[in-house]
Amino acid sequence: MKDLEKEKLWQKMLDEGKSLPNDGNEPGIRAYQLLYEALKNEPDITIPEGFAGKVAQRAMTQYSRRDNSIWLLSFILIAIAILGCGFAMFSLYPNFFQLLRSQINILGFAGLMFIIIQAADYWLIQRKKIFN
């Protein structure tokens, strides 16, 4: 058998977990056995202490930043929509703002409630979901 074929056969046998023939004239056999043992042996690598925690913290910072960007974008879009609606209503009904002014207490209360609910949702529910 040619050397290359012989080596292919040995590697195949070792891959399949079979033991190689105990042939004293074949130094390659012992070398392969040692090699396979060594390759299974983990090299000396030290994973830094707290690595997982450090990475998780970095990821969460990025996540919160992305979350904040989404909030900001939503706020801008809502503001544009409100201004657009106000402008359209004023063009159609010139008394629109006088009507709004007369209902200022109700509108203020609704706005305040909206902000309180959103803040409570973020601090009491969303943040818990992220860190638990």
Binding site: G28, L35, L39, I47
Partner: protein, 184 residues
Amino acid sequence: MTDDATLVSLVKKGNAVAFRQLVQLHERLVFHMVHRIVNQPEDCEDICQEVFMRVFQKIHLFNFQSKLSTWIATIAYRTAINYVRKEDKHQTDGLDKAAALPNQEQSALEQLEKKATYSFIHEQVALLPVHYRTVLTLYHLEEMSLQEIQKVTDMPLGTVKNYLFRARKLLKEKLELQFQPERL
């Protein structure tokens, strides 16, 4: 212990504890791969962090078409290979390097020690071309199948088999050269 599906769904929702657990479960795999591909211990931690950040950013794309570990290994492989390319540390000439290794002067007794043999082999692995190192690590250390290695590295199956055979043959020759046959 949380299974992969639960873990992934929690990470997708931005759960920090789940992500930390995911990192803990796969840090060994990522460190081994990055360490073998990059061959520079001082850069290893930063690259591994980068790998897990990518995992976090792309987790919404993971749809269980492969094992989670295979998917993470793919990201680790690509990140490490990109780093090697950027740093212009391509090891395409690794074969020649491996062929020109200096003989280390060690006593016969030391040579006999298994530990010394193992560390000699690990040193030789580090001198192999990057693709050889990768397939060896994935196959022997991470016990991945040839098909899984094919997925991770995006190499044809024949190439994976060929690299694996040639890498082991090269290492075996180095071992025979370094240690006298009767000592083996």
